[in-house]
Each structure stands twice: as C-alpha cells, then as structure tokens.
C-alpha cells in the first residue's frame, strides 16, 4: 500500500502523518505542492494539517489551487482515496471534493486539547477498525474548525450516512457536532481531529492508530 503525503509551505503535520502510515505498514512518498503528478501507484493521498500558505485569504484556499491539487482532485474523481486532516480538511472543502466550509471557531479561540469523538460510520476503509458508535479520544488543534453547510447539505450528509465522526462535546460550534465527513463514494474523508497524533503509546493513547491500520489493511488487499 502506497500513501502520498502532500507538503505545502506551512504544513506541520506532514511527517506525523507519514510516520502513522509507515508504522501501519505503508510505503510513503512525500509530494511537494509544486509537483504536478503523484507517483503512479498511489493508493491514498494524505493532505496534512498545518497552516498552508499561512492561512492567507482563507484557510486552505491557496493550497487548494496549488499545482498538486489538480492531481488530488483527479485521483479522487477516479475513485482514489484521500484523507484530509485539519488544514487538510479545509483544503478539501476549498477544492470542492467535500461540501461545506470550516469557519472560525465560535469561541474565537484556538482550541488545542484531546476531545471525545463518536464514530458514526464504520463501513469505510478509514473507520472499519472502530466499533459502531464507539467513542475515541484524539486531539484537536485549530482556530477554524467550525463546520458549516446549509441545512439541505447537512440533511443530505446525514441522510446518506456521510458523517464519519461527531464531537461528543462540541468544542468549536460545528453544525450538528460534525467533526468529519465523507464523500459520496466514502473514499474521501475530511476531519478536524488528528488521529496521527494519537497513534502510538508514547502519544498518550493509540486510538488514532486503527484508522491507519484499517486503511493499510483494506487498500493493500484492494
């Protein structure tokens, strides 16, 4: 299983994400934002957390229009897997691969702490390692994680079972407590919390690890 992790100027979770994939058994390639092509045999693209382009204009907006993102979009449109975490989620909404947008936190503060998430959809390659409705504790670290979409879009996401994760105790004002959403084909996941930061015992717990194990297991067999 081959994972590509994109590096933008200002990415700061790219290496954490690469380590999480590697420890789960994946081969990992780091891909620079000015590159125009992915390695040809890539199974999943990781869009990491951080502050791409200094969050100028809007979080993720400049990154979403960078040369490599054309490859991300075409990979997703061909049915490829994409995982966007934190700033990566913001980038994916800006590309239009996922609906909605991440607004400034309702409390206006940067929130950095471990929070509890409920896993709502376990029938995906990302979440098959978790029990349905199980609660996991992983960190958030963001200023703009307040998920917003119009009611029709939110109804559609819920109706199609595309809410992957919800906050147990909403930290940022997100609509309907949404912490992570899936594309229609369930192969693109965007989430604000950081599973790669709770992926081994030294992190405090390993509850994020199941996502990377599940992805590597499922995509290696695909």
């Amino acid at each position: 299983m081959h994972a590509a992790v994109i590096v933008f100027p200002g990415s700061n979770c790219d290496r954490d994400m690469a380590v999480a994939f590697e420890r789960a058994g994946a081969k990992v390639s780091m891909v620079w934002h000015k590159d125009t092509q992915m390695p040809s045999d890539v199974d999943i693209i990781g869009v990491p957390g951080g502050f791409s382009f200094g969050d100028y204009l809007r979080c993720g907006a400049i990154a979403a229009n960078s040369p490599i993102c054309k490859s991300v979009i075409s990979h997703a449109n061909k049915g490829g897997y994409v995982l966007g975490i934190c700033n990566g989620f913001q980038v994916l909404t800006e590309t239009g691969l996922l609906p909605g947008v991440l607004l400034r936190n309702s409390g206006l503060k940067y929130v950095c702490k471990a929070i509890e998430l409920k896993v709502e959809n376990t029938e995906t390659a990302f979440t098959s390692g978790y029990g349905h409705n199980s609660a996991i504790t992983i960190p958030i670290a963001h200023h703009d994680g307040n998920y917003f979409a119009d009611d029709a879009t939110l109804d559609q996401l819920e109706g199609e079972n595309r809410v992957a994760f919800r906050y147990v105790d909403n930290p940022n004002g997100s609509a309907r407590d949404i912490a992570g959403i899936l594309s229609e084909n369930r192969r693109v996941l965007g989430m604000m919390p950081h599973p790669e930061r709770m992926a081994e015992p030294l992190h405090g717990n390993s509850e994020g690890k199941a996502m990377f194990d599940s992805l590597v297991g499922q995509l290696a067999n695909a």
């Binding site: 809007r58 400049i62 909404t93 909605g100 947008v101 607004l103 936190n105 309702s106 206006l108 917003f148």
Partner: protein, 79 residues
C-alpha cells in the same frame, strides 16, 4: 485599471468575529450597535484597460479564489 473587491459573509452565516467586535463596542460604551459584520476588501491593479473585460476577469477571480461562495458574497468595483 484598479479593481476593488468586497467580500462579505452571506446573511445567515454566523460571523463570530463581527459578534466579538459588537461586544467590544458595547463594553467601550458605544450603545445602539445592533449588529456587526466583518468582511474584507481586496484591491487589484490590473493591466486591462477595458472596464467590462476587467469586470469579467475579476468576477472570475472571485469565483475561483477570492471568495468562497458557499459562505461569502462579493461585489466588484472597477475604476
């Protein structure tokens, strides 16, 4: 030509920064401010000399990058 783009959050989208400014104004003693919305102004220097073409170009820039039309509306002034 110069273009000035105003980008505002659409009505119905909560503006936590505007709300914080409203609270701050109230605590400074400025009464009677019922609402504050915060947006941005982007100024562009263009080589284009035709106003209609400039307007069309800047509108395309807004749709592609300068505004996120899921939550923001924009207006363009050319001068």
């Amino acid at each position: 030509m110069k273009a000035r783009v105003h980008v505002m959050l659409k009505n119905g989208v909560l503006d936590p920064q505007g709300e914080a400014v409203r609270h701050a104004l109230g605590s400074l003693g400025f009464d009677g401010v019922e609402g504050v919305r915060q947006g941005k102004v982007i100024e562009l220097d263009l080589t284009e000399t035709d106003a209609d073409k400039a307007n069309a170009a800047v509108t395309a820039m807004c749709e592609k990058l300068l505004a996120n039309t899921v939550i923001e509306s924009y207006s363009v002034e050319i001068s």
